[in-house]
């Protein structure tokens, strides 16, 4: 109890936004799984950003005399694939692709979803139309929808981004709409209306900042799904085309060599698994850390 009081006093003393962020960060750091997730994500970003530095050789360079080398053989950290390409260098560049695709498609999906959700939640007249369209999108299995869009646009990584962005919109729209519906009935929104604030001001200055928490959590979780789907689509041959070093495509390429060189598929497989795991646990951690009801139990 005494520590609780001291903690809340600490919170009271904080006078700016940065201090509030510190509280959230502190709470995440207490969640061990989330910390592991953050470390993995951090490593991933380092790999992606410094790919040209970290690579041991050109990821596209073939050397048939050195094909299918195992882990650590002849100085290749993670071995080589069936064309003798260095798997480590390809993994590092693959991280780049996964993160870029993940971040762009999640951002595009969020912008669309947040706008639609805000409009649907705030304006009753638009609600019916927008949410029926969203329901329609929901009715398709996600990967099928993505495949449909790629079938129409053609196979390329850019089209994968477009497909996955569209697929991210409905979930986000629904979450935002739900928050808006509850927030717009709050008395502080009524007070702003009583003061004569315009709808735009109320929507973007008062409602939007109050539904960021679920959106941040959704975005993090969505990163995991997106990276997984990109790999899945590439595995199916709809995304990145060979010889692009994309993780899903690498698993697909390794399939035929499962017996002679299993590490060709297993290494990218582990990378995908760890990445998805990391984003999921960080998402979970964020959800707990951003929960305003946690305020009092904080010590």
């Amino acid at each position: 109890m005494a520590t609780n009081v001291a903690a809340s006093e600490d919170v009271k003393k904080s006078t700016n936004k940065e201090k509030n962020t510190i509280v959230v960060v502190k709470r995440i750091l207490k969640n061990k799984l989330a910390v592991i997730g953050l470390i993995i994500i951090f490593i991933l970003f380092i790999m992606a950003i410094f790919a040209p530095v970290l690579q041991t050789q050109d990821p596209y360079q073939q050397s048939l005399t050195e094909a299918e080398l195992g882990i650590g053989e002849q100085g290749y950290i993670l071995g080589t694939d069936n064309y003798g390409r260095d798997i480590w260098s390809r993994m590092v560049h693959g991280a780049r692709i996964s993160l870029v695709v993940g971040i762009t498609s999640v951002s595009i999906g969020l912008i669309g979803g947040v706008l639609l959700g805000l409009l649907a939640g705030y304006y009753k007249k638009l609600d019916g139309i927008i949410m029926r369209v969203v329901d329609l999108l929901f009715a398709f299995p996600g990967i099928l929808l993505a495949m449909l869009i790629i079938a129409m646009l053609g196979t390329s990584l850019v089209n994968v981004v477009i497909a996955i962005s569209i697929w991210s919109i409905p979930g986000c729209a629904r979450i935002v709409r739900g928050s808006v519906l509850s927030i717009k009935k709050q008395e502080y929104i009524m007070a702003m209306r009583a003061v004569g604030a315009s709808n735009i001001r109320i929507l973007f200055k008062h409602i939007l900042p109050n539904c960021t928490a679920p959106v941040i959590v959704y975005a993090t979780m969505r990163m995991a799904t997106t990276i997984l789907s990109t790999s899945a689509l590439s595995f199916l041959g709809l995304g990145a085309q060979p010889p692009t070093p994309e993780w899903g495509a690498m698993i697909a390429a390794g399939q035929d060599f499962m017996w002679s060189a299993p590490h060709m598929s297993i290494i990218p497989g582990i990378a995908i698994m760890l990445t998805v795991f990391a984003f999921n646990v960080v998402g979970d951690g964020l959800r707990d850390a951003l929960d305003p009801n946690m305020e009092l139990s904080d010590n």
């Binding site: 700016n16 008395e187 009524m190 007070a191 209306r193 009583a194 003061v195 004569g196 604030a197």
Partner: protein, 323 residues
């Protein structure tokens, strides 16, 4: 009626909420939240509105300041008919009418520093420069008894009473003439209640404010109000000066309400008027006098005809056949 200038006049105000059912969302009836309210508020006075939960007090207040669109009736503010104005036309009147809400924990944006919140109000309605606005925010905070340096804090760093003070600061920021206190002190504990009421009274004299004080707490209403209106199921049952209502209640509902106030004097037996049953649903509105279903003195004709709003004595109105 009164010789003072009237600030707000409400005539037979109605606010019905449609009940929509089915796939096509057809209207299958109405919740008659405010069925028939007529009143007149003079400049500088405090008019208390009492009634039990669900009688339409809050809806009435919100309709008056334009948060809800009225269904029928007139709302005249400063002599101007504001009931039919669009939101844009209403904006200039919004400066003059403000509202203080019940829940101090829900009435402030949790992600906005309170100083920014107050400044925003000024930004919307005035052309003051940033420095002038900041100056004004400081003055407002001082006026409601808060320190200047609190303006960089977020609402969750304040207690209930302090938050209510911030709500009051927001309401008086634009120098309004009418403030609707919608259960403004009901969520606070008694000692804080007293402080907030004192603050409201002080501000009334310094700012020439008129209050519409909505509450279910008869004791508080008596303490703050010059006149009191008793509402039952969306209609006005009785209206009179505080003294008239509290010492000479005429409507059987007012009598029942007053007899329910707990009295701290032991040994003094007071006859308790007990009401049978619950308040009827506002969606299945009773015929005739809305109170006839629970009225201890109801006669046959109460069921059929709606009682007139009659002035029994100077400034004392009642809607009852049997008075």
């Amino acid at each position: 009626m009164t010789n003072q200038q009237s600030l707000l006049e409400v005539n037979e105000l109605k606010k019905y909420f449609p009940i929509k059912k089915g796939i096509l969302q057809r209207t299958k009836g109405y919740v008659k939240a405010v069925k028939n309210v007529t009143l007149q508020v003079s400049e500088g006075e405090t008019l208390g509105i009492v009634g039990e939960s669900g009688c339409g007090k809050s809806t009435f207040g919100r309709t008056v300041i334009g948060l809800e669109k009225k269904t029928d009736g007139d709302i005249k503010f400063q002599g101007e008919n504001i009931g039919d104005l669009s939101d844009r036309e209403l904006k200039k009147y919004k400066k003059d009418m403000q509202i203080i809400f019940q829940d101090p924990f829900a009435s402030l944006n949790p992600r906005q520093r309170i100083g920014d919140g107050l400044e925003e109000v000024l930004k919307i309605h005035t052309t003051l420069s940033k420095a002038e606005r900041e100056q004004k925010v400081n003055e407002l905070l001082k006026e409601v008894g808060l320190k200047e340096e609190y303006k960089d804090r977020y609402p969750h760093q304040f207690s209930g009473g302090q938050r209510q003070r911030i709500g009051i600061a927001r309401a008086i920021a634009l120098n309004p003439s009418l403030i609707i206190c919608d259960e403004a002190v009901s969520a606070l504990d008694v000692s804080v209640q007293a402080q907030i009421i004192k603050l409201l009274k002080d501000l009334q004299t310094t700012h020439d404010l008129t209050y519409l004080f909505i509450s279910h707490d008869l004791g508080v209403v008596r303490h703050v109000s010059d006149r009191v209106m008793v509402m039952y199921l969306g209609t006005s049952a009785e209206l009179g000066s505080s003294d008239q209502i509290y010492s000479n209640p005429l409507h059987p509902y007012t009598k029942a309400l007053l007899s329910a106030i707990p009295r701290p004097i032991p040994g003094v037996k007071k006859e308790r008027v007990r009401l049978e049953g619950d308040i009827p649903s506002a969606s299945e509105y009773p015929s005739g006098c809305p109170f006839h279903t629970r009225c201890p003195i109801a006669k046959a004709h109460c069921k059929e005809s709606i009682p007139e709003w009659r002035e029994i004595e100077e400034g004392h109105f009642v809607a009852c056949h049997e008075v």
